[in-house]
Symmetry: C2
Subunit: 410 residues, 2 copies
């Protein structure tokens, strides 16, 4: 009988608490997870308390319960959400509670339900969650996202395997991508972190005005925000705690100028958004705004997302990931942004990260004045492949090669 490697699961839990969240003595912790990921969650809670956490609060989801709403609830209920819970979470973050999310859900969970209801429910939640999300995106607190191989997700990635084999195989892929390889994953992460930091350093020294992307279906110039900074790997929170937000992470990323994006771009991997799959996105930007959009699947969902608010049809993040990244090398589509974004160069529409500026003390208004985008949403979609070339345009208009056929030039 094939089984999940419990020794590696234990290492993943320790890595997440110690290096990912980097829980501080006496600090409370909020964990969200699907009930299916209970074996990992129990280990996470054990390690959190062993490392001196204050109170650990798990909030569980269950796919049956999530679907039940879209199956049975009245139409008028879809503009409602648990405002009291999201306000509570904001208060928790305000009081320095750390945050850990375990991703294991079926990426297609909601794909058979009315996309209008799904997007209304999601908008209500985004709106209620925004004040809490700001504590996360501004790194007021330390946080971490990791994955657990849920059965439905595993079957989507490995449709030809049995349930058990698919879970085992996705588990192995998660462990590999999260660098749980030898006995000392903490050291692995330190070494990996150094490499990401050196790439970000070079991009910051170059201080490009814009990046030019060329590839099949893609001919795009993305202006960079005034005073932008490339970051990657670990982040220091505003309180100075080093934290790894994403595990795995292979990207370095920054804030584009949301009014200076022009041209066309084609996605290279499916985007899994709130239970729906959006495939083969083709988009045209003019002065930062998406003015044309198409998709072979999920066009309706993506179109609704773009209408969430003013900033939803503008860029908030761009990220560079070599095609040779371990995740990309598996050749798999994970239908999970945490994995697929780390296998490929990507863009994100929506909210920008204020930490991607050299000056960390910018006000919201200054961030916007420098070209930062503001929105309720932040959605990554993948545009990288072994056919993409990227050049940086410096302030004298010179073009310097950055990526060739999907790999770093320097």
């Amino acid at each position: 009988m094939t089984q999940l490697d419990l020794n590696k699961l234990d290492k993943l839990a320790y890595l997440s608490i110690k290096k990912g969240v980097n829980i501080q003595p006496g600090q409370d912790l909020l964990i969200t997870a699907s009930i299916e990921s209970l074996p990992l969650l129990r280990k996470l809670v054990d390690y959190a308390y062993k490392e001196g956490a204050g109170v650990v609060t798990p909030i569980f989801t269950d796919p049956h319960i999530t679907k039940s709403r879209f199956q049975y609830a009245t139409d008028q209920s879809f503009d409602r959400t648990q405002t009291w819970l999201y306000e509570g979470i904001k208060n928790a973050f305000k009081n320095n509670t750390a945050r850990l999310a375990v991703v294991s859900e079926d990426p297609q969970l909601l794909s058979n339900f009315d996309s209008d209801k799904v997007s209304r429910a999601s908008k209500a939640t985004s709106l209620a969650y925004k004040p809490a999300l700001e504590y996360i995106s501004n790194f007021e607190i330390n946080w971490n996202i990791i994955s657990y191989p849920g059965k439905a997700w595993a079957k989507l990635v490995f449709p030809d395997l049995s349930d058990e084999e698919a879970v085992k195989k996705l588990g192995d892929a998660i462990f590999h991508a999260s660098r749980i390889i030898n006995d000392d994953p903490l050291k692995e992460w330190d070494d990996h972190n150094k490499k990401l930091k050196s790439k970000a350093k070079w991009m910051n020294e170059m201080n490009f005005e814009s990046l030019l992307y060329k590839g099949p279906g893609t001919n795009l110039e993305v202006g960079l925000a005034v005073g932008h900074e490339w970051v990657g790997g670990s982040t220091n929170t505003k309180k100075g705690i080093p934290t790894f937000p994403n595990m795995p992470t292979e990207e370095i990323f920054t804030t584009p100028h949301c009014k200076k994006v022009n041209g066309t771009v084609r996605s290279t991997k499916p985007l899994s958004y709130q239970g729906s799959l959006i495939e083969n996105i083709e988009v045209e930007f003019k002065n930062g705004k998406i003015i044309k959009m198409n998709a072979s699947n999920g066009k309706d969902v993506f179109s609704k997302v773009l209408k969430t608010d003013e900033g939803a049809s503008q860029l908030g993040e761009i990220a560079l990931v070599p095609h040779s990244s371990p995740i990309s090398q598996t050749g798999l589509v994970y239908y999970n942004t945490l994995y697929d974004e780390n296998s490929s160069c990507h863009l994100a529409i929506g909210q920008c990260y204020s930490k991607c500026f050299k000056d960390k003390s910018l006000t919201k208004e200054q961030v916007i004045a420098n070209g930062g985008n503001s929105s309720l949403i932040h959605i990554d979609w993948m545009i990288g492949s072994d056919k993409i070339d990227i050049s940086g345009k410096d302030h004298n208009g010179n073009l310097i090669p950055v990526f060739k056929q999907g790999e770093w030039c320097n």
Copy 2:
């Protein structure tokens, strides 16, 4: 293979939503439950949405996670709690969210841990939860408690059976006690409700000044609060929604005068409190206050509870249950207050119910002036048996028989 009766489980879920909570169209619902009770929880959520609920929020507990804290957390963490969550829940209730609790946990879950830590953690939670609890105890909202046969609980009640048989057997006992007997549990509950209402009506007509309890180890006079009212069965919330707080329920109950309790009383069933068992409690009251206390098991825990605050060593509720009640007739000890209190006459130390007064508009101060008790806690303990006699003393000092050998006299 013995299995839980899923048809009856489905009926229990429907009964709870329709008659217990009595969810109103568009009303949100908060459910707390152990992960083990997921099969029941999924049915509850389905029925809630089918009956028109707004948003249903489940909050799950897990025994491993609950224990992890007491096993690994630092000493100073035990005075902490999730204040943000309890504040959030209070805000939910304020906005008319209904409440459903599923009880399935191991009554002895925490019995092997340091009782000092357990009681400190519990005090911190009680304090944070008090504002929310007031919405429940004052029936500002509709709420309901039901049970699910968790394995550890089932093994405690049926130690000689296999895991599966114990769960099946406890499930059957739960269904029977919750009157899931024939095809129409809703009608069963209507009939049962009428009987409870008629007993309460008689007690209210008699309008006793005090009750005198006599039995082995018990010789107690309990004064009743000024303007007290006996209630039982369904309750109308302040918004006028009929709700059954407890399923099962066999009791009629009222508010004693917390300064007019004198004599001795001996418990007749074990009390399961926050994971510890307290057995053979013997208590002496003087002018309302517990001045002497003993217990053969869990004395330490009970003694700490009494010190929670001023009101913790005074009575907040008395309840009458005939010894012939269906739960009592099983002859089992359930180690679960919801069951054991409904098999036996009982007392509760701690917070009184303001609804147990004829005048429903009393202020907090007026409730206290009339003899109502105030405390962070409310803990029921069982004093009934087939050997207990109860008389009512009227305002002329006449004694009128109420219970003889554990049964109603009238």
